[in-house]
């Protein structure tokens, strides 16, 4: 829970939006190898992974047979037939892959504990990265990953992030993490930035302002019900496709943004009920304070067809809110 008056959280948010901040951002990491790796990835993810060339990465989602999102990940094509999947549910991904790779040459291994990752995010992140890296970044495109070194220590640099700002993710071997951490802190400070302390700012508040959701926000939703239809390649087969085609034509729900009127949202927990004229029409995935927009904002799953601008109430005390797009700034 974040509050308007929280000075540290506000400074953290402002640092990411106006300067550059760093924080440990290690996700579960699953390495997928084998000559049939691509075939399995095509089957379990909705996007065309074959289009992701070596050194490129892609955000995509995984569905169950009912067409509901059960995971969202970044697939990184590291080398020929070697993919990394950055995920928050790695230990659950491996059995899913195993269940859908019978007879195929695929190996999936959890490498979370081998690699640490640090995020360097904000408009001044290129400057910080130039100070950090031994070799220039060059023309590293968004959603690209490349090898580099930091004071001679090998790292992977991924141009991406979860803030909606210019940003990078630096992967280093776990046994080098303390060295890399110190060097990142120094480079970011030299670029005028600082460490970001508040978990809820970089996991929730900052991403939500830009419309970035967590897997848990997509509960029971199909990509076509939460603005992720762009990620779906309907020309290929994938788990949940049949149901996806049905939902595409007749979505049941929609994921929306909420702007709250009250100064704080203490009575709104995760998955609080949303009411329209007193009738339950959905659930609020989470509410949080956004320091850039200076408002309490949230994501909600509501009945399809409720337009932006609709006044609803949330939670046991009828907290008033307005339905908006899920990108707030």
């Amino acid at each position: 829970m974040l509050f308007k008056e929280d000075k540290t959280a506000r400074l953290d948010a402002e640092t990411i939006r106006r300067s550059v901040g760093w924080y440990r951002w290690t996700h579960d990491l699953v390495e997928i190898t084998g000559k049939d790796a691509l075939e399995v990835l095509e089957k379990i993810y909705v996007s065309r992974i074959a289009k992701v060339g070596t050194g490129r990465t892609k955000y995509t989602v995984m569905l169950n047979e009912d067409g509901e999102i059960i995971d969202d990940v970044i697939v990184m094509h590291m080398k020929d037939d070697i993919y990394w999947v950055s995920d928050l549910y790695g230990p659950r991904l491996i059995p899913w892959i195993e269940a859908h790779s019978e007879g195929l040459d695929v190996q999936a291994k959890l490498i979370t504990y081998d690699w640490d990752m640090y995020a360097v995010q904000g408009p001044k992140s290129p400057e910080a990265m130039e100070k950090l890296l031994d070799k220039p970044l060059g023309e590293l495109k968004r959603f690209s990953v490349a090898e580099n070194t930091v004071s001679g220590i090998p790292v992977w640099v991924h141009r991406s992030g979860f803030t909606g700002e210019e940003g990078y993710e630096v992967y280093c071997a776990a046994d080098k993490t303390q060295d890399i951490k110190a060097l990142i802190a120094k480079a970011v400070e030299a670029a005028g930035g600082r460490e970001i302390y508040t978990l809820e700012v970089y996991v929730r508040s900052i991403p939500m302002e830009k419309g970035f959701a967590l897997k848990q926000d997509y509960k029971h939703l199909n990509p076509f019900e939460c603005g992720l239809g762009w990620a779906v390649d309907l020309e290929k087969d994938f788990i949940g496709k049949e149901r996806t085609l049905e939902i595409k034509d007749a979505p049941r729900y929609q994921m929306v943004g909420l702007e709250f009127e009250r100064e704080s949202t203490e009575d709104i927990s995760i998955w609080e009920r949303v009411y329209l004229y007193g009738v339950e029409v959905g659930r609020c995935a989470q509410a949080i304070y956004g320091y850039t927009v200076d408002k309490n904002i949230g994501f909600a799953t509501v009945r399809a067809g409720i337009p932006e601008g609709t006044k609803v109430t949330v939670g046991p005390n009828g907290s008033p809110a307005t339905v908006t797009a899920k990108k707030f700034c």
Binding site: M1, H27, Y197, R273
Partner: protein, 406 residues
């Protein structure tokens, strides 16, 4: 058309056919365990007049029992990894240290319908504010005891072996007469705080607390409001799972742990049991001393008007209701205007949590229901539990005068 409108919801039926929903049962069990705990604490206050001594004693035992899951350092690490981090899916991006013990505390509160919220959750500080608590009738000894259990959570989550890095203060406790219950954990190194003893956990935190405006407080926990508890990282617990957890572990932490210390406060086992039964018998008599309490129960259970006030089945149906609420299976063996016999496996009644049987439940409920017989039905009636040392026991509501009322 009417059939299409008939939905399904989880419930059980009282002896008179009225349906009690899962939500009602869950609310009732939390309050029932709290009431049992309140009675038990009266026993404690008789044996130990010093608030400080009895508080320290129950804190010691509760902390020790919570830590007992850890064992050796290797076992402790396994416990933390499997039972805490994995169970709650705490992502790798989080620093794994004491402050994550706050997640365990928060889930425990919500599973037991302690309605509130985590105000702050950072690596240096965790603040939890509670608006309501079913245990608000027990007293501040229990509030302190929960800090000792909380300490164990923080110790187990610590990245520095089994000693946590935080100062933990229950800076507002309803048991002390304050409206709120609020727990704040602040890193000792960050805030320059000393390590605490058991009686030093009710101080004020360093950083100011957040006070939720009254109009934004909540009256029920997430499980009742939303049918589930979802923690900060998105992991969910259903109402059903929370209910089952309470039906097992609620007895363990709020009854069994303090019971161990309270037994030691008594001069001997016989004296403990004598006082224990007297307290529960008095509680039972007082349950239905007011006529409107009887009326309320009749309405709640759906007792028909043709059932006379002096019919033992009213108590029999109350006992069955209480067993259903507590998820204890039983069979009705006799159900006449002269007697009610309820047969159940002794282990089902005493060992709600298999690993920690609580034989005193038989003594307590026998005394309480026998006391209740006098006011809910009439002094012509008694409740006895036969066969407590056998595999099966029978709870009997029978016509029997009790000349000495003991």
């Amino acid at each position: 058309m009417l059939r299409e409108k008939l939905g399904t919801t989880k419930c059980f039926k009282t002896a008179w056919g009225k349906l009690i929903t899962e939500q009602e049962g869950y609310t009732q069990i939390n309050r029932q365990i709290a009431a049992f705990c309140a009675n038990l604490f009266q026993v404690m206050r008789i044996f130990e007049p010093s608030w400080e001594k009895r508080t320290e004693a129950i804190c010691d035992i509760a902390n020790m029992m919570n830590m007992a899951v850890a064992g050796s350092p290797e076992e402790q690490k396994a416990y933390v990894d499997m039972s805490l981090y994995e169970a709650f899916n705490i992502p790798e991006l989080c620093e794994k240290s004491s402050w994550l013990g706050g997640i365990t505390g928060d889930s425990g509160d919500e599973w037991e319908n302690m309605a509130g919220r985590v105000i702050q959750f950072t690596r240096d500080r965790v603040e939890k504010e509670l608006d309501t608590c079913p245990w608000d009738i027990v007293g501040s000894e229990l509030c302190n005891m929960t800090t000792s259990m909380f300490t164990a959570n923080f110790d187990l989550a610590s990245s520095n072996g089994t000693e946590n890095e935080v100062a933990l203060n229950m800076c507002q406790a309803r048991g002390c007469g304050n409206k709120h219950c609020r727990v704040v954990a602040e890193r000792r190194d960050k805030y320059g705080l000393p390590k605490q003893g058991w009686l030093e956990h009710m101080q004020q935190p360093v950083d100011p607390i957040h006070d939720t405006p009254r109009e934004r407080m909540v009256k029920e926990g997430q499980c009742l409001r939303n049918g589930q508890y979802t923690q900060a990282f998105g992991e969910e617990t259903s109402l059903e799972k929370a209910y089952n957890w309470v039906a097992q572990m609620g007895w363990v932490w709020s009854v069994q742990f303090p019971m161990m210390a309270i037994r030691d406060m008594a001069p001997d086992d016989d004296e403990f049991m004598r006082v224990f039964k007297i307290v529960f018998a008095a509680a039972g008599k007082n349950q239905f001393i007011d006529p409107f309490a009887k009326e309320g129960l009749r309405s709640h259970l759906g007792v028909p008007h043709y059932i006379d006030d002096n019919d033992g089945r009213i108590l029999g149906s109350y006992i069955m209701y209480m067993l259903d609420v507590q998820l204890v299976p039983y069979e009705l063996e006799r159900w006449t205007e002269d007697e009610t016999w309820i047969r159940l496996k002794t282990e089902d009644f005493t060992a709600r949590y298999e690993m920690a049987p609580l034989d005193e439940l038989v003594d307590a409920y026998e005394a309480q229901w026998n006391g209740a017989a006098k006011t809910l039905v009439s002094p012509e009636w008694s409740c006895v539990i036969d066969g407590r040392d056998d595999e099966e026991m029978i709870i009997k509501v029978i016509r029997r005068e009790d000349l000495r009322m003991v």
